[in-house]
Symmetry: C2
Subunit: 209 residues, 2 copies
Amino acid sequence: MKDKNISVAVIRRLPKYHRYLKELLDRDIRRISSKELSKIIGFTASQIRQDLNNFGGFGQQGYGYNVEDLYQEISKILGLTRNYNVVIVGAGNLGQALANYTSFGRLGFDLKAIFDINPKFRGFKVNDVDVLDMDNFETFIEENAVEIVYICTSRNGAQDVADRVQKTKVKAIWNFAPIDLKVNEDVIVENVHLIDNLLTLSYFLKENQ
Amino acid sequence: MKDKNISVAVIRRLPKYHRYLKELLDRDIRRISSKELSKIIGFTASQIRQDLNNFGGFGQQGYGYNVEDLYQEISKILGLTRNYNVVIVGAGNLGQALANYTSFGRLGFDLKAIFDINPKFRGFKVNDVDVLDMDNFETFIEENAVEIVYICTSRNGAQDVADRVQKTKVKAIWNFAPIDLKVNEDVIVENVHLIDNLLTLSYFLKENQ
């Protein structure tokens, strides 16, 4: 299924809808109006109606949204109807933090291994997942049908990892290193540039003083 | 200095300019045209001229931008002309990862302590910074003129921390817990919602297949 006409801005709001709808389901709330949803999620009701209209009309006049249906539909749009095999490269604190997030696994992101070039991690396990050296990286990726690589190395190591990833069939990189990776056009990179976030915070702090 | 008329979209691009200009300075490059800058940073030249025009015309026809001046100006806009005392709450892997990022300190974010309610961290140090219990949190914040709190707790603990932060003079929270914190209007929250990033990645992966 292709949703080519949906803007990136809308796509980036979908995980938040997904998160809140899950909470509603956990609280056994079965239907909700755009107005009520607006109160808990913080977007305006008109924004919500506009966003959700992108995926066909789930909302019914006078009834609101069926929470379960909407949750399932957004899950489908986000590609969450199947599992993804993933590996982490970089077994430092950040890599270990990601390996320990059980919520990723619950959403279908199955961690298969953690890689690190540092011999001090040999034989190490994090959350029951092995830390391996990089020698057989490409073979492991192929044999385990890995689809996403989380890069948690230092700035210096990240491009090398990206280069090796590109020799495999992996088309998605989640990059935490403070560098913009150079990759082929068919490889998707989602960056978490922590410093960029922190500097946005210092900007707003300065502005408010 | 207030820059109220600058859009949030522009502000969010500034840290990237800041990062690349620093690299140019490190390579001893003293001036650059918007066209050359475009090649390395990935924004269009016209986007760059438009963005930077927000802060007064640093670019000169036929000369380009003075890298040092532009870097200093953007540093100023981002509030980087002074230091900020910060603390981390949550001494798990993620909190430790942040404590170990030396680049934050180099930019002027001085880590004063790490707090954790778990007694197993008593007496622990990360990157030479003490892990403290939460008993004297508010006093510590006041005595050390802390201005930013990084919340690295679990989902369950985060709102409690935010409530305690709001009893202090701190007006900025960097939140890594997968929850949208409820705070007073005068408190700035910058969220790093990792799951939202990951789901954006799975969306694009699905779309490209």
